[in-house]
Symmetry: C2
């Protein structure tokens, strides 16, 4: 089943202990769609500027991503510059130029409206709700958000949360949104705001899924080298939603499998800068790492 993502397309300049990359293709919609394209057909809704080149577009084309909703407008594409050091768990943002993203209003066409699986990337919650309301009859809508909206647009965000099935956020955001240091208590409060499923991303510590009556924890894959963590969260979401859309199965067991597929994809993403590793994956590699996750976590009852 097809999958729609609404989010950002950016040009990232990144420095990590392993090197530097200048103006490489990034953004939440980019990482999400490239990742999910390994599972299902993907449609992207985002905005880029006049400087967005044929080469950039070719990246989406190479993964057969439907870019009919990728609007090109006057101005420059969203740019982000950041660096990672130490344990590389958090980026230090050096510069953000919103550019055309500042006036982004997602336009949802007939084809997008019908998508059964939808991911609302981290954008203004008012825009997320606007998109949600245009969807015809989605099977599953997930969204992301961030501290900036939790602190600045909480009432708007609550309206969005009331209208989605799944929230995918990081641990600090879950604690902030739930108003609790204890993650389990925070999760209970957040799920009462709307999303029946909460996926908490914990960086190098993996992911914890809070759903119905059960909690599921998956570790991150232990890598010898993390070259660039940029986009890991959106890559996780792409694998998670990709697997759900591929199977159409929203049962508890399959949600857990989806968390592992998300973790598998994120583990590949961070091995190299930007989209490099995600673009030269093979289905065999994805399945092999899924089995490695099983081996990483299995113990006898």
């Amino acid at each position: 089943m097809s999958l729609l993502v609404v989010g950002s397309v950016a040009l990232d300049t990144i420095r990590t202990p392993y090197g530097e990359a200048r103006e490489i293709l990034g953004g939440s919609a980019t990482f999400f769609s490239v990742t999910a394209s390994w599972f299902v057909p993907v449609k992207v809704v985002a905005v880029v500027g006049e400087d967005f080149s044929a080469e950039h577009l070719q990246v989406f084309a190479s993964r057969s991503i439907d870019t009919s909703g990728l609007e090109q407008v006057p101005g420059r594409t969203f740019r982000w510059r950041g660096e990672y050091s130490g344990s590389m768990n958090e980026a230090r943002t050096l510069e953000t130029q919103l550019n055309v993203f500042d006036r982004f209003t997602p336009k949802i066409g007939a084809a997008q409206r019908e998508c059964p699986f939808v991911f609302l990337g981290n954008i203004d919650p008012t825009l997320q709700l606007h998109v949600r309301q245009q969807l015809t009859d989605p099977q599953l809508v997930a969204c992301d958000t961030m501290n900036f909206w939790i602190q600045g647009k909480l009432e708007e965000l609550k309206k969005t949360l009331a209208a989605v099935d799944v929230l995918v956020i990081n641990e600090g955001e879950a604690r902030l949104l739930g108003g609790q240091q204890n993650l389990k208590q925070a999760a209970t409060i957040v799920r009462k705001l709307g999303p029946r499923t909460l996926v908490v991303k914990r960086g190098e510590y993996g992911v914890t899924l809070f759903a119905e009556d059960s909690v599921f924890s998956a570790p991150a894959y232990p890598l010898d080298q993390v070259q660039d963590p940029t986009g890991a969260g959106d890559t996780f979401a792409g694998g998670f939603m990709g697997h759900l859309a591929r199977t159409g199965d929203l049962g508890a067991s399959n949600l857990r499998r989806a968390v592992v597929y998300g973790s598998v994809m994120a583990s590949f993403a961070v091995e190299e800068f930007g989209l490099t590793r995600l673009l030269r994956l093979t289905p065999t590699e994805i399945e092999a790492r899924y089995r490695e996750f099983k081996n990483l976590t299995h113990f006898d009852a």
Copy 2:
């Protein structure tokens, strides 16, 4: 099979967001032995002062712990005062009075020497090695250490590490000892120092086991309330070593089970202050939580 622990017995004064406890029984040897006593007969080697009361001793007796190696000497018992706040991942030490622990020289008698399973709690690495050298023919020797010794007595610590099978330390200590931010790389370096098995404690993020050719990650049990994290690491070690001593099985699968039993015991310990919860456990509760860990981590291949 019987299990020997050498470490500290302390009187702890603890403040957390959930309350305060004054001069309650604590210390690495205490948490370890009370925990391991749920699995096997335990012998403890430690030192206490003149203020150590019959009531304190009764705690060990209630768990049938062999205290013939618990030496009472002139002076006051080791005292520690600390508090936890926020996410409660780390204690803030307000006061440490080493007292009689400052001149502690573990005395290993005939009965202790023969113990097949031995845990060297976090004490001066010179003393750990001294104990190790007196053991007759142990099946498995594990030890703990801390930043203080890694930074202050590295050469002595390396001699100890060369003589043990398992090292159980926290994540920051593993990174410091391995000289690497990347945990997998740090683990490889640490294991080359001697211990073929490295168990890395990651607090609320669980435990990662590095052994032979495999890595195993277990999450922490998600609790609604952590009242007092004091002793969680030694409790983990007590469950880990307790299960290994109970089964006598040092195979890869059983090491994983031992990690889960350690995590099970630590999850109980932090539910209430000090030893409270550990002292009123039942074997049924331990097995039930083991199964909950299975449910927390299971996904279909």
